[in-house]
Subunit: 84 residues, 2 copies
């Protein structure tokens, strides 16, 4: 069994209006020291062990479904969980 | 300057219909080994150094704005960036 964490972020040159809104809200709550906010997605997947290489499988999931690679970057961490 | 990463996830006993939809989609793409998908938010904040304790500040931002603590959990990582 694997526990996979996927982080999806907007590419650097893509505008992030949601982040800008959160930044303004934080400023109005007197957190003026906040300079930049970028908002992305975080996913936790539990995947059973199969014959397929886990790294290849997760990469394909990200490319084909989880991330829009035109405007988003992704990275992931794979952790093997040993059932007791 | 600090770089703060905030991870917001749904509490374990809260249903995640978005995660269920992604899981079904992955199954239909022949990734049948996927057992569970939970979707959360990932935020990157850049914060300037001030007199206020950064840990307290980030905690207050999460509690008051970034997370809905009734249904969501949050955790964060603070990294100090030294300007060159």
């Amino acid at each position: 069994m694997y526990k996979v964490k996927v982080f999806i972020t907007l590419r650097e040159n893509v505008l992030d209006p949601q982040g800008t809104a959160v930044e303004s809200a934080l400023h109005s709550m007197s957190f003026e020291a906040v300079r930049d906010v970028r908002i992305g997605k975080y996913m936790e997947l539990t995947i059973e062990k199969t014959d397929q290489d886990i790294d290849d499988a997760v990469k394909e999931m990200c490319e084909r479904l989880l991330a829009n690679t035109v405007i988003e970057d992704y990275r992931y961490e794979i952790e093997e969980v040993v059932a007791l």
